[in-house]
Symmetry: C2
DNA sequence: GCCGTTCCAGAAAACGCTTTCCCATAGGCT
DNA sequence: AGCCTATGGGAAAGCGTTTTCTGGAACGGC
């Protein structure tokens, strides 16, 4: 009756307008078949009472909440921030709200978190780079309206960036600049998108047997990159492609601290094109992953699903190479001219093995 | 009955366990006074049926959703990302979910957005730097369990960073380095935290009449900073304190493009200490605003409120000066020694008026 | 041995809405 | 004039829980 809670309910409006609750409901939802005068009376009563239908009650009877969940592993990561933003904005445009969950704290409890969250929503977009494939497949089945980002699950719509071809573009870019000995500062082996990158590494190895690509385990954070820099240096590689921009920035920072010139001595490229990649020193060459679009697309798939459309196959967005200042021609051992040449090499690093 | 929707409901469990729904409810909620054997039977039935109580129905009857809303003006801004993360993590620890809303698209509709969002939740954390004060006060009244971030609303708990003293710290830092002519690259005049900064400017003017501080209108983004850089240069100031780190980075970029050395010719400092402030070139001196803590504190106030505690006064966090490489001693017009001195000045900019 | 307690469990009433079902009224048709 | 069909609005049955209220059974005290 609304009086219990202090909120004005549909019955209050009905009473004020001298009609039944059914009629109020019909008017509020724009259902046809209500006398114009009556409808007007209801609207007046509703607005003068400041009536707002309780969304919870609506959700319960309607069976939909007008809300979706977005589950990401780490809200501190620019990539996931971008995705979250993409789906939030797109969903808002269609009148949907977003419930956000960060699973970082407890990767083991991830499945429980996403299930619990899912119950309050109409669907979920799941971004879980690390969940084991079999666990993921099992978990996702119970989530039904769901789209996964950067994962492949049979029968489930997914939107991904093509990390595999992206990393090949990066490698080719360096190869074209003359680099013949590169290192890949890898992400976590349990990361699905890292696996895609490694597949790209293999593709590249076949295509360009003349270029050597070593792999060093790094991680996904700035710190991981900084830590990996020393082994990059020791490897004697002239170029490093990092798991992502964060790692690349770590490498950059560590290299700078060691007085190693980028790109004169070592080229370093990242992956993702996070908002700050353009502002590192030197500005980071990277493969741009359109995270916002990824998020928006995820929403679109969900919206289509809500509209009853049949799901099509997965969509894959191709990263775009962004050449900036952190990559350059391979250093030459020939005596440097102190001129204007961009890639004029210093011999400083010559003795490194 | 649950059968209609395909979901297993409480009645299904009741039937399976041969008890009434009331008993199932009691067991599921750990209410005392249920025979142990019976309780066990219910638990077995529930888990074998994979029963999960519908949170919507619970919310409706309980009158609480176990969800709070976080409303921010722009999910692309690192500051708000940090706050969102802070409250999300803290709330999750206490079993609460977060509904996120980005109001950027339509500042006029902000009030409607927050009201609508609020209805689905138990409370809201509102971060609305630009809403006019009177509108805010009126709007916030209808939101009751609410905490505002970086705004002062009488009678409403708020958590803020002390931008006023923060900017004074920054100014004093530059004054100490010998700067006597500074410019403040201001944010939007409609921004509450910009008003606080300007109040700080006034405080500083009183305390240090020997230091001149000009104000130029800039904005809150990288682009705004870049655009403002030229007028900074023309002003002949030796130091600029930017509205925030983004603006500072814009200034930095534009200065670099013009070949003006930082900090040798001009010092620039930011505000916020966003994650990337440490990685600009040169690394940005700034006043660190603990956004994560701000968010966490906001949650705490809400949690306390839920627990029935009385609200205390507003809390204000003091920004912490982080001196990095973008600020240095004022340039000297005296002939530079080509030595190791950090702030050895170039005369390049001497003619600027 | 009877009555008053206590303990448990089920029936039913909310929570605030939507929607189906049904009835009344008015209008058109033959 | 009588009947049949729109048309509009009200009553009531949900949606899936929680919780109060009620009642039956077992138990203890006198």
């Amino acid at each position: 009756m609304g009086r219990t809670t202090g909120t004005t309910g549909i019955d209050d409006v009905a009473r004020a307008a001298g009609v039944s609750a059914s009629t109020v409901s019909r008017v509020m939802n724009g259902r046809a078949g209500v006398d114009a005068a009556l409808a007007e009376r209801v609207r007046t009563a509703a607005s003068s009472l400041g009536y707002r239908p309780n969304p919870l009650a609506r959700s319960l009877v309607l069976g939909r909440t007008q809300t979706i969940a977005v589950v990401v592993p780490d809200l501190a990561n620019p990539t996931f921030q971008g995705m979250l933003r993409g789906v939030t904005l797109a969903a808002a445009r269609d009148g949907y709200r977003v419930l956000v969950a960060d699973t970082s704290e407890d990767a083991a409890a991830e499945e429980a978190i996403v299930r619990e969250t899912r119950q309050r929503c109409d669907a979920v977009v799941l971004c879980s780079p690390r969940m084991a494939s079999d666990v993921l497949i099992a978990a996702v089945a119970a989530l039904d309206p769901v789209v996964v980002i950067n994962r492949e699950v049979p029968g489930i719509p997914g939107v991904s960036a093509d990390y595999r071809v992206g990393i090949v573009e990066l490698l080719e870019h360096l190869a074209t600049l003359g680099h013949r000995r590169l290192v890949y500062a890898a992400g976590s082996p349990s990361s699905a998108s890292d696996a895609a990158r490694r597949a790209g590494l293999a593709d590249f190895a076949l295509a360009r047997p003349d270029v050597e690509v070593l792999t060093v385990e790094a991680g996904a954070t700035f710190g991981d990159g900084a830590a990996a820099a020393s082994v990059v240096v020791e490897s004697g590689a002239t170029g490093v492609v990092a798991f992502n921009d964060l790692v690349a920035m770590g490498v950059l920072a560590s290299l700078a601290a060691q007085g190693i010139a980028v790109p004169a001595e070592v080229s370093v490229v990242g992956f993702d094109d996070i908002p700050f990649a353009a502002f590192t020193t030197p500005a980071l060459t990277t493969a741009a992953v359109p995270v916002g679009e990824l998020g928006e697309l995820a929403w679109r798939r969900l919206a289509a699903r809500f509209a009853g459309e049949e799901p099509e196959g997965d969509v894959m967005l191709r990263p775009e190479l962004r050449v900036r200042a952190s990559s350059g021609p391979v250093r030459t051992v020939i005596s440097p001219a102190a001129g204007a040449g961009a890639g004029a090499g210093a011999e400083t690093g010559a003795g490194r093995s």
